[in-house]
Structures are given as structure tokens and as C-alpha cells.
Chain length 277, copies 4
């Protein structure tokens, strides 16, 4: 007996819940939790079910394939520890938050290493016994720098890459290797203040609320599917550095929240958006 | 063809989703939206499904009864306009918010009348062509006053009574006539500051956040099942009257939210708690 | 004895608080509340003080002028009822919220009339005994339409114009007549989703939080000084119409909040930003 | 030239701002920021001013004493690094958050040591080179246990003690040694759910929002002056352990926020409440 996550996304058609739950019933699986969503506009069906039972994954998948539309995606997973690589630059708050949670056993993840273009955070990371790999961008073209990072990444079986305030833009060529696998924290309430120095932009604009956005990085930076957002209030007395400081508390919580959703297989991506169960 | 809401709560047992969705499938119903929740601790199953189709309600209910545990509750409803009675005292913000929404056609409800122990709000209510009935408590015992209100209420087929800042305590005898049908707004973040003058209590305690709570009134005031809550920030510079003023914006939005959830048949009550879909 | 609001903004220089409070002291004024802010980056000083006392406004102003930099702005005001014109199109939530507050006596304002390009809201407005003036844009150029609105406005001594979901863009020529006097509610978390249909834009982008922004309209629509913002959470299950519906609760509260700040002389504008006390 | 914080609280009387700012002006001090608050109900005056200048603290204090009511409190401080002792039990989130901020240089504090009744967190704390002192309560009376903790504390010149999820109740005898110096995080939205297991209480009550409260510990646990609060939304699907998990993100941010306010001398305490600038 084990607890499996069954993840299905598919074209919608009548009777899907019935047909799927029939299979679960016939296989004598116990449904622990079940979430469905149908996007009527795009005729898409999403389902995440946790089941307890004695499963032959391959057999179950085959049965599901028989009753689902042919282009359906079916994933049957045991809650395993996923392999995560962190990337950062100089700020420690987002990285540190993940390191503490990891130390605490809160994350279903093994953090394989931290990659940075500076060695600023090395002393922090090494406290936790995690390899810290500096890949300096000094004197390198963007392509050459990314190639060196890719060389490091290839040494691991990567499930997710988390950009914990990694302050360099990644090229499309880089990210296409890891579609829906790179999670970034952008320090604004996207789509406001895309690009550099969002806190300075927010200060200049005189906003009364600032935010942070965790999203997958696909193609264009800051334009990938949004996973989680949160905000905090500011006022005229905040300098942009004050906004940056208070914004960090939002950034780290939002990024860790997004990472946990990913680790728990709660995110579906389509049409550059997310369905989150 | 019409859109029905099928509401089921029941003891949980294996295969319920399968058995229910099988009936929907065999009846050729199209599932528009579906929400389920299983409370594993109490072994309770809740389901709210919107289906399109050509339904014989009684026949469908009978089929569902055959496959559900014998003590299951099954409701099959067309989205109808429910009969709502508002009760208020002197403050206009919560009442006015509902009147505007009603005027706007936002609520699936007919507001049959407003009952008040004062006539302060009569000019406002009558603008909207809604009967305003003053039932003064002057010189009456609580029981006698409530009896007069009950006499008014008996003239209507009441679905919900909304206490839009009705500032008198209702007795158990009164509320037992309308179990899970009386929605109150309490001007604090329950269970903090139960009872009278919660803003004064909040001021005295020096809290940094105040809130409001919409809940069903069953037996003990302020202790019924919570439907919705929201908060707003305050600080040392707020007098209790300032808190009261800013709190009104939270109160009215929370109460209207709770009313809409009720009108859309989105609330299940059990164990003095709510499941909200 | 009366309570005055003394509003000062000025270049900053050493000793301003001392020099101003000296005058208050010598005039035997009692300070009820006092707020100051210095923008060090732009060397600007802002102060709002409520004082009780027996004041000759002109004499007090003259004394303040003598000790303040020559280009300082000094306003000494009794809390009077300001003249407000509302403009709306077809939606009633923001307009209705202001009407109820006005009816309730919550606003330091006389609502002189409501101007709309449709007559949809006439029945609502007239309930409250407020003149409703339809200025249709049918068959008119933008300039001609605005000229007709200006003709109406010229009949009043206008303190503030509130765009309570007035769905037409105002030209620069129009708004320059009312600098920092037109308050708009934009149904997004500006600067995200500038322009038309922000809820549709938000839906397409897949955001997890939506918001509303109240701002002064100067020159470019949606780019004026921000007064107040608030947000609410959404998720993948929200259609853009659901977002619109829930967004209305944020819009109306934010707009009314901004209006109250204006009526209480709590807003200073500079550099396209606001200082709010 | 240095930047000082001048903290004054006093009975209120007419002319205080004038008299104080006169002294600042005559001493040729430059006001960087200034906050005042007058509690009219209790006739109390509070002021926090940051000034740049060449100060003789004692002389300045003497001058202020001459013009202030005799029972006024006057503190003139350089922003120094305060001595902080952390106390914790087994949970790492709140402690870890402070450790990361400390490592990052975000806090004006030297963390002298961590005291715990278990050694669970020793590996985490020692990573950061901070002494970890286990004071087990096993087999000891409460008084004896506290005496041992006091013996440790006496070895330090303590400015603040932070209870970062220290799960034992401190006696009045203990806390009276550190009035307004012990900051606790209570894992509920006080005054709701005082006492043990607040998440379980919140779950049982069926609340829709949970919170956390940072407060000073004086006399009765959970009843001291509130410094900061924040909340997060929950729903029927949350078990109490889910609430506990998500609540941790609120707890740690609120506790760190309160600590920073204390370190920056932004908190005044009176009448079991706080004024926060």
C-alpha cells in the first residue's frame, strides 16, 4: 500500500470524471483527495488525485489511456524527493529561506547544489553542507557563461531549478532545456515593473502596494506562467531601498510557496498560465 | 435543458465519486463544475456539482439515494431567486451595500422586507421600494419583541434572514426556527472580542489588525459556523471610533460575500463549521 | 474656537518644524494632530496640522509666509463640505457606494450632481434626490462631448470630480481644467494592465491577485498620481467576468477611501506622486 | 557628526513640539525624520526624532528635561548593535529566519546565544557560530528551570530576549526581570486562541483566517502589549497541521518584524499597548 499522485490533463469531454473514478474504484484505490478543473473556454480538463492502494503504475496508466482522449497527459507519481538546483547571486534572504526549510525537512527535495556568479553566498551555503559552485560571468559572453552553467547542470538529474534572486537574464536557448522547470522570483507584482530594478520603478511610480511574483521561466524573462504572488503595503515615506528591504519578506515566502507547490506536483501549465490544486 | 445544482453530503465511503458521476453520465448530464471535499477526521463527504441537462429532479434524487448511504442529504436545485429578509438597527453601511447589489441585479434574491427596531433606516430602504417594518423593542420583554418579529416573518416564505448590523441579541428560542438560515455580521475577527462593543475591546487591547466575521446564528450569538472573514490594518493612532469607521468597509463586504455564497448554495454546515465551495 | 487644517508644502530647510510650531505656540493654538514628511531626495517638506484655536486665517498665513521659503504653499482650511461631481457610465457599484456613504453623512461633501453618458443609472441616483444629467456621446466627437460636459461642470463650483467607473477616456485638454481634482478608479493594480479591459488582460496573463487603483487624472489616463490601492486573490477557476465581479468590491472601497482622503485634505501631490497623511 | 535617536514620552501639554524643536534648532541639529503622536484620551505625548549633528548627549538631555514635564522619559541613543538572546524549543522556522537575517547583516544586533530546553536546534545554531546552551527542564520545577535560565542570562548584558517559538510558559517572577524586553511570537491572532495549541483551537472553531502576533511578555502570557500581527487565509480543507504549516510563514515574518522595530527603537509601551513609529 502506498499513496500515489495521479495527474491528468486532457481535452475535456463528457464523462471523464466517471470514467476515471470507475478505474480507481475497480482497482480498489482509496481516494484521499481529489481536485478537478475544467477550462470551458479552452475545453481543457485537469485532475489531481491522491490515492492509497496497491498499484501497478504502468497497468494503471494503460487503463487510463484507454478511456482518455489520445493526447491526454497522465502522470502517476509516488511522492519522491525531487532534485533541486538553486541559483543565486548575492542576496541571501530567498536562498536562506529555502536552506532553512530544507534543513527543517519541510521540502520534498534534495538540494544538489547552489550555483552562483559570485562567491558571496558560499559561506552561508556551505554551513548547510551543500556544494556551492561559483560560475563567474566575468569576461565571458552570455552564451559562454550559460554554457558553463549548463555543464554543471548536466551533472545532475534536475527536476527543478530555483532562481533565488539570480540577477542575470537567462537566454531562450538556456531555458528551453528546462521548460516549466525553472522557477524565478521576480521582485514586483508582475506584469507591473518588468525588467531591472522593479523597486526603483515602483518608487518612481509612487505605488501604495508592492509585490513579488514566482513564475516559471519560459522564453521571455518575467513573462512565464505565474505560480504565486503576494503583496505588502508601502507609503510615501518608503525610499526604494526601504521597499527593497520590506519586499524581501514577500519575495522569500512567495518563492518558497511556489517551490513547495511544484514539489507536491500541484501545478499544471498551459497557455502560459497555471492551474494550481 | 437547464442548469441544476446537485448538493450532497453524506458519510464517506469508497467509490462515492464513481457512483455519483456514473449516474450523471447515464443521465446524459454535462458537468459544468464540480467540487468535492472529504473530511477524513469525521468521515464526511461533501459534493456540489453544477450540471446541464434535461432533468427529472425526483427521479435523479431517487437514483442518488439508491447508491448513497441512507443518511445522505441530497438537494437538487435550480438557481432560483431566494427570499431574503434583512434586519438592521441604525447603521446603513451593511444594509445599503446589500440594497445597491440587489438593485444592481447582482444577488439571486428577492428582498421581501427590512425589519428594524428603529425607523432610522426607513427613508433609505423605501427609496428602493422595499417594505420597511419597524418593530420597536421599547417597553417590551425580549420574548415579546421577538414574538412580534416572528409574526412578521411568518408572513413570508423565508430562505435567509440577514442581520445587517441588527444590534440586539436573538434568543435561542428565536433562532431555532431558522437553523443555518440567519446570517450575522459580527464586527470583530471572531472568536476575538465576542459580545458588545468589539471595536472598543480591540482598541483597549491595542491590536494592530481588526476584522469582521459573517456567520450563521445558531444558539449562542457569535459562536455559530463562520462563513467568511476579512481584516484591515490599524495602528496606535486609531481611536475606537476610527476603528469602527474603517471596520465598516470590511463588515459590509464580508457580509455581502457570505450572503452571495448562501444564495449560490455554496455552503455546507456541520460540526459548527462550514465547507464552502 | 474652531478646528483648522494647516497644510504646508515647501522646499525643506533646517528649522521649519521649530519655526512653524513657534507660530502655533505664540498664537495659542492647540495642536490636535500633526504629520510631517521630508523627502530628502527632492528636498521637499510636507506638513498637515490640525489646530484648535481662535484664528485669523489671513494673519496666520502671513506669519507663516514670513518664516517659510518664498515658494511655499500654505493652506489654512476649516473642514468644510466640498462640492463633488460624480461621473459614471453604467455600473452602479462604485457610484452606489458613494451615494450610500453620502446619505449616511460619512462624507464631508455635497454631491452636486451625477453626469453620465448613459441614463442607465438615473433611477438609482434620483432615489437619493441628486440631479442626474445625461450627456450622451452618441454622434459627437470626443471634443464636442467633453465641451458639453464642461458646460455642465461650469455651473458648479467644483472641488472634486469623481470618475466612479466613467468608462470614457478624458482628453488632456479636459483634465487640465481640473488638475489634481479628478479622482479615477482604475480596475487594475496600476501600472499593470493600463488601458482597456484590465480584467481580461489579467485573466489572459494568469495573475493570482487582482487589484484596483484610485488616482488623480492628469494628462495621461492611468498614469496620474496614485492615491490608494488594494487587492484581492483570484485563481485559475476565475473567468474574467468572475474577476470583474469580485474586483468591484475592491474598486468601490478603494475609490471611496481615496475620496475621503481628498475631502479631509490629507493628500499632497508632487512629482506625479502623493504624500498621504 | 553622528545620527542620534531622540525618544521622548511624557504627559502632553501645549507647546511641546515647539519647545523640543527649538532645542534641536538651537543645537544646530538637522532633523532627518520625526514622528509624534498624542493620545488625547490619556493625555500622553510620544516623539521619536532622528537628528544629525554634533551632540553632547548629556547636555541635550538636560536641556530637554528643563522644558519637559518632570516625569518625562527621555532617551538619546546612537544606533548601536543591541544584545539579543534567542530562546527556542524544537521548531526552526522562526529561529532560522532570525539567524539568516543576522548573517545577512540586516539586524542591528549581536546574537549572544540561543537558549533551549532541548538540543534539537543545536546543529542549526552552531552552523552560524552562535553559542547554543541547552537548559533542560527535565525533572525540574518551573522555578528551578527558570533559575537556571536566569543564571545563563545574567552572563550577558541583555537588551532583548526573543522567544522564537519557545514553548514553555514563563512565570511572572521571570518576566519581571525583563519588562518590555521579552518579545514572543504567539501563533494566533491574539486575543483569539490564547493558550495552548492555537492552531487546533482555530481548526475546531472553523475560522477562515489564521494569524500570528508578536508581543512583549509582561506578567500574563499572551496578554502583553502587541507589537505586530499578520494573517493568512485558510479554508475547510486545511487540517490543523496544514494551518500550523502555513502559519509558520506568518509567524516568522511577524516575529522578525517586531524584533527589527525594537532594535530600531521604534516602539513605545504604555497602558499595555504600543505606539510604533
Amino acid at each position: 500500500m502506498a499513496r500515489y499522485r495521479v495527474l491528468i490533463d486532457s481535452e475535456d469531454e463528457k464523462g471523464l470524471v466517471y470514467k476515471i473514478s470507475k478505474i480507481f474504484f475497480e482497482q480498489n484505490l482509496n481516494i484521499i483527495s481529489n481536485n478537478e478543473f475544467v477550462d470551458k473556454v479552452n475545453n481543457k480538463f485537469f485532475m489531481r488525485t491522491e490515492v492509497d492502494g496497491d498499484i501497478n503504475s504502468d497497468a494503471l496508466k494503460e487503463k487510463l489511456q484507454q478511456i482518455l482522449p489520445s493526447n491526454a497527459n497522465i502522470n502517476i507519481k509516488l511522492p519522491n524527493r525531487k532534485n533541486v538546483i538553486l541559483m543565486a547571486t548575492k542576496e541571501s534572504h530567498a536562498l536562506g529561506d529555502i536552506l532553512i526549510r530544507h534543513f527543517d525537512g519541510e521540502l520534498e527535495a534534495d538540494i544538489k547544489c547552489v550555483i552562483s556568479n559570485y562567491d558571496t553566498l558560499k559561506p552561508l551555503v556551505e554551513k548547510f553542507g551543500i556544494p556551492f559552485i561559483t560560475v563567474s560571468h566575468e569576461g565571458l559572453s552570455r552564451e559562454e557563461h550559460e554554457k558553463r552553467i549548463l555543464d554543471v547542470l548536466k551533472g545532475y538529474d534536475v527536476d527543478y531549478i530555483v532562481l533565488a534572486k539570480y540577477m542575470r537574464i537567462l537566454t531562450s536557448d538556456f531555458v528551453k532545456n528546462y521548460e516549466n522547470k525553472i522557477i524565478n522570483i521576480h521582485h514586483s507584482f508582475l506584469p507591473a515593473f518588468i525588467g531591472a530594478n522593479p523597486y526603483k520603478q515602483a518608487y518612481e511610480r509612487g505605488v501604495k502596494i508592492i509585490g513579488a511574483t514566482a513564475h516559471f521561466v519560459n522564453d521571455n524573462l518575467d513573462e512565464g506562467p505565474i505560480i504565486a504572488q503576494d503583496i505588502t503595503e508601502v507609503n510615501h515615506a518608503y525610499s526604494w531601498r526601504d521597499m527593497q528591504q520590506i519586499g524581501r519578506d514577500v519575495e522569500k515566502v512567495v518563492l518558497s510557496k511556489a517551490l513547495k507547490l511544484a514539489l507536491e506536483d500541484r501545478i499544471f501549465v498551459y497557455n502560459n498560465k497555471t492551474v494550481i490544486f
